[in-house]
Amino acid sequence: MPCERKPMRYGHSEGHTDVCFDDEGKCIVTCGSDGDVRIWESLDDDDPKSINVGEKVYSVALKNGKLVTAVSNNTVQIHTFPEGDPDGILTRFTTNANHVTFNSSGSRVAAGSSDFIVKIVEVVDSSQQKTLRGHDAPVLSVALDPSDEFLASSSCDGSVTVWSIESQTQVAQWKILQKSSDVSNAKSLCRLAWQPRSGKLLAIPVDLTIQLYDRNTWTHVSTLSGDLISQVVNVVVWSPCGKFLAAGTIGGNLLIWDVEAKLCIERQKHEKGFTVCGMAWHPSGGRIAYTDTEGCLGLLEGVSSLSSSSTVQKTNDYDDLFDEDDDRMLDEGMSDSRSPVKKPIMEDDDDDDDLMPATGRPRNRGSFLDDDDNSQGMSTLIKEEDGSSAILPAVGPAVSRPVYEGPMPTQPQRAFQPGSTPVHLMHRFMMWNSVGIVRGYNDDQDNAIDVEFHDTAIHHAMHLTNTLGHTMADLSQEAVLLACEGNNELASKIQCLHFSCWDTHKDWIVDLPKGEDVRALCLGQGWAAVATSALMVRLFSVGGVQKEIFSLPGDVVCMAGHGEQLLIVCHRGTGFDGDQALGIQLLQLGHKRRQVIHGEPLPLSRKSYLAWMDFTAEGTPCCIDSEGVVRMLNRTLGNMWTPVCNTRDSCKSKSDHYWVVGVHENPQQLRCIPCKGARYPPTLPRPAVAVLPFNLLYCQTTTEKGQMEEQYWRSVLFQNHYGFLSSSGYEIDSEGQSRAEKEQQELLMKMFALSCKLEREFRCVELAEMMTHSVVTLAIRYASRSRRMALAQRLSELALEKASQCQEEEQEEEEPAYQRLKSNMKNVNMEKQKKLKKKRNLSVEFFFDDQITALYFLCVTACVTASREGRVNPFKVRISSSSPAGQPRTTNVLDSMTMSSRKPAPISGTSKQGKAPVLKPLAPKPKSKMSASKGNSKKLEDSQSEAEKVKPAPAATPPASAENIENRKPKTGFQLWLEENRKSILADNPDFEEMDVIKEGMGRFRTLSAEERLNWTERAKGDSDPKKRKREDEGQVDEQMESNEGSTKKKKPLDTSAKLSAFAFNKE
């Protein structure tokens, strides 16, 4: 449809209403049963002017600055317009008037009352009255002829009468309406209307149709109807040009006819289907205002565009319908089926009463069925339908005009200060942020600004008189920044109250160049920024020194400052279909100036606009759109925006909103003010801040898995600021950070345990990849205790990688120390190598001769550790670290890991404790072993295809048993094996040195199956000197006792795994 129906808005309390435009059409004037007349600047006017004129107002008319109202105290009053001052009582009745109207010149007012009387009063002299008596029931409506000759009135007695004003006699009368006892029982308000200017036609709403009567002959000329109308017509109004007629019906239908063509050119439905009881056509003809019995006001826009469309002539001969006027009553009875609202005859439905109990004004009512009104009902009905069907195709061309149907551009949103309520409010928040509150009062007595600080330690509260008319404000720990837009005389000004200043001049004012207006402003630490209408951003120091200026690519929407960061949101272009096209820039001021975000699009929900944008207390940009979705910048994800919360989810009703005042990352808090039925809170009573939790929009958060994932990622996201803060040189709450890390690792471990339980081993490895090295060892333990060897194997590989990564990181940290380490490992530096050999010899002497080879590696690492730490005796270290770890043949990394992680308590084996020194020396060893086994694995295939190689996957090694055996029978098995295989290793790699051979050997030995290894150990047992073995065993046992102290029970795998799993699931 070409004309647009604006959404209804609340105008008055429930009950009868009336509406009219002022002469110029600037204002809409409505009245209602609450006794108020309201003057609306537009439909969106949130603050209409209200004039209380009485207890109830039944009708309102406006002309020449006189507002005439029919009030429940039985008077017709005049008020001045637009001031609304009472200007006397025009006339009185014995009961209330139902309808008042002006004549076209505005000199006379006609009023029809429930005491059956119609009065015509001169506006200037209310003593000159003409009284028209003749109706036998309350008068429903009156209409004055444009040429001031006649007056038409409709009444509950079922008649429409035309009076000659001069002679005060009846000129014509038609009994066409249904009779009713009172206005409240009448089916229709039956508002009459004369055609403007000529006054040639009088339109009368009769039941489902509108009948037109000719002025000269007082005969019925035509009927406007159609099956489009299914309910009784309540109100009719002519367009100012006299070509169109608009009607409003009981059921909320709004129809517009081209009278000449008798075409219904427009049809709209009230959004809730309430009865339309007041209509007014804008003087320019472009729009129609209407009100309903629920007190709502609506507007049809773009009605003027219709005028061109209705050119099709209708040539129906209406002469034969001429006599139909008497048949209306029967029609109505038959058409009941078409109008569900309507109930036949006297059975007045009480539901209707409930709809508007306050007024009891006329509306859809059953009425008396006159016995004599029945002759040709059927035929009329049929004819009517003929007529309408003939009309229908004619409507077609009107609709199918070429219309642009693509996406419509959106009105770009206006600049705003985040944390402020709209400017047009008299009492508003100019700023509410984490520092304090700036309130603006702009009413009759006062134009002032109140500044209040949440923390009174910052500054005491301030009260300023707002002489400059500031509309924008920002507040920081140092200063208050205020700004006003300029007008013709005064330039736009920025005022800064720098209260933390140590000299006596605590404020400064800057005028912007002529024609440049402040649009948005913000304060940072030691600076202020102002975006202007000239698409520029001006930076100032907080003391008032002008600094850089730069241009913006589009109109600014808002700005925010935090520390040295400046955030600017501006329009990037035109949005379509309700979307905004916003771009965001993030600048780093201060010493290292740079642009972090270069005007990338700001993601918003569909058809929403930006509602709030600021930094969190920790300095991460955060934005909220009008749909209530909170998004936070994810610096670790390439500055993408992650939605972290939807405030609408916590709203109880659809019209409730949360007005956000601050976001904190640690603790995770979204501070906002709940607003019932509004977007903004009122200043009084003082709103209370509520705290909402964040909730990442992850899938399946009802399940345990989804919950933990959400928690984990939320924790990660809200921990990002630590990295940012430390990188930009701020002090950080390291305790909080480690707490967050610990929480994350705990969550990972829980998820790991859960996946383990669900036998999702691949997922377990994925989770382990996210863990820190130390937690992986815990995971390995968990896996091995729950007898998932394949998983444990994979995890151990992963642990090695992690360890090497750890090492690399450490290397970066302590470059020189590690350089040496590295060279040792790789045998690049021969000198070092020799030194090491010496050390090895020492250690060999200290230990047993036949163990040297296997021990060698550990010695190396121990030495390295010793040299790195600089104070530890290498031998000591070697003993303590190597022996409990199942000796050098810790072929399975798992074992060594398990052992090492035994020291810290299982739960606290996260982050910090995880990096306990016990692990560090072990780390490089597995790494090299890994690389060796990996690097040679291919070559080994051939050589190991001997008899010993029927092994299953190395993962099949049951570590627990292996460990036990190895603990009992250490060292010698590998030794023997190596002896045998040395040749083949050397054959493969002739250039290998001894150390490499051992490495290689260890790698190969590791790949042997458990049985084979067992074999070797058995053989070794047989071969080796029993004495030696005994000694060795004793020594080992002693060492074990020493190092493990009381905690030797860990040898029982079942027990531990039970404990471990208990931990994992208790925590869930």
Binding site: F453, H454, D455, T456, A457, R686, A688, V689
Partner: protein, 182 residues
């Protein structure tokens, strides 16, 4: 029990305040309080709230029931029913008195609330007296009174118990022969 003692007990009730200072958690025997963030509501016991209020360190957020509409409803209910209606807070009288005396500026419509609470109190105490009267006049052995608050019980306890004792004495003196009946 002294009314002051009842009031003392009432001071343990929690109430929301909006502090205007910043302070970490404080650890007390009765439990941890805080942390206090300026501008952010936090729950503290009434005694602390009043103390902070007196030092102008906070604004007190009145409890939810301290609202004219809700109290009016309760008053109507109280007047309509013969029994005692459940009261939103077991210390309504004490809290109303304490909060209204010390932070009337933070409570919208403080005077109306004062009147309403007084009305409710009067109604309830009148009922209590009435029931005590009928209890005695009908010489009942026991009676059940639900939804009474500590303060209300306290107002009538000493008097009621003493008078019952006296009456018992008087009666047993009057009718020495039939004293076993009681």
């Amino acid at each position: 029990m002294d009314p002051a003692e009842v009031e003392f007990l009432a001071e343990k009730e929690m109430v929301k305040i909006i502090p205007n200072f910043s302070l970490d958690k404080i650890y007390l025997i009765g439990g941890d309080l805080g942390p206090f963030n300026p501008g952010l509501p936090v729950e503290v016991p009434v005694w602390l709230a009043l103390n902070l209020k007196q030092r102008q360190k906070c604004r007190i957020v009145p409890p939810e029931w301290m609202d004219t509409d809700k109290l009016e409803e309760i008053r109507e209910q109280e007047r309509k029913l013969d029994t005692f209606t459940p009261i939103p807070s077991p210390y309504y009288m004490e809290l109303a008195k304490l909060l209204l005396n010390h932070s009337a500026d933070n409570i919208p419509k403080a005077d109306e609330i004062r009147t309403l609470v007084k009305d409710i109190w009067d109604t309830r105490v009148a009922k209590l007296r009435l029931s005590a009267d009928s209890f005695i006049s009908q010489q009942e052995a026991h009676a059940q009174l639900d939804n009474l608050t500590l303060m209300e019980i306290n107002t009538t306890r000493s008097f009621l118990l003493d008078s019952l004792n006296y009456m018992y004495k008087l009666r047993s003196n009057l009718q020495p022969g039939r004293s076993q009946d009681y």
